[in-house]
């Protein structure tokens, strides 16, 4: 299970909506409680691809975020990105580029009136939806 604060969901949503139709992206960090993940901080990063169908996290911002996590005692938990016009599920490219099997991959779809956020564990070409709790 992975838990996300409503305020952090709103932060992701607001940024994704402001960036659309460009894909938005960032990192999540927090705490591990056994197999459960608790997101304590969401990071907004630049999509250096500036593309509607691709994203790449800015490596310099990624480094800064990792250092901030260390300084605040947070554990890197994964990343998030938006799908402005497609469903909240990993694309073939998302799966191919998911190199960290311990990470959670959150995908926010804006294709419908109601935004949909899901979190996935990706290993090889298999993606499994994680139980996501927004509170």
């Amino acid at each position: 299970m992975i838990t996300l604060k409503k305020a952090d969901f709103d932060k992701i949503l607001a940024h994704a909506q402001s960036e659309a139709p460009i894909e938005a992206c960032g990192l999540i960090a927090g705490e591990l409680d056994g197999e459960d993940k608790i997101v304590k901080k969401v990071y907004i990063l630049t999509n250096v691809d500036h593309a509607e169908e691709h994203f790449t996290l800015d490596p310099k911002e990624q480094l800064a975020a990792i250092k901030d996590m260390r300084a605040n005692g947070l554990t890197p938990l994964g990343n998030w990105h938006s799908h402005p016009v497609s469903p909240s599920r990993p694309s073939e490219e998302d799966k191919r580029l998911a190199y960290d099997s311990s990470a959670s991959y959150m995908i926010l779809s804006l294709m419908d009136d109601v935004p949909v956020l899901n979190s996935f564990h990706i290993e090889g070409d298999k993606a499994e939806k994680e139980q996501l709790v927004i509170e």
């Binding site: 996290l57 990624q62 480094l63 260390r70 990993p90 694309s91 490219e93 998302d94 190199y99």
Partner: protein, 68 residues
């Protein structure tokens, strides 16, 4: 000598290169990892020739990207 790797202080051999550290640390899918030393990004072509020094701080950054 002592260096810091991903936030953890470690003892490594004097004169170790970044390339050797990547091997010793069992970095998964190293072709998709960017290495920084003291916040400077090390080009892949420089991994073999970049020698680490006492007190250096090394981070491994996984490429993170995708597409819809």
């Amino acid at each position: 000598m002592i260096i810091t790797v991903a936030g953890v202080k470690k003892e490594v051999k004097d004169g170790i290169t970044v390339a050797q550290l990547v091997i010793d640390e069992n970095v998964e899918t190293p072709q998709y990892v960017t290495v920084t030393v003291n916040d400077d990004f090390v080009e892949n072509s420089q991994l073999e020739s970049t020698v680490l020094h006492e007190g250096d701080t090394v981070e491994f950054l996984y490429f993170m990207g995708g597409g819809q």
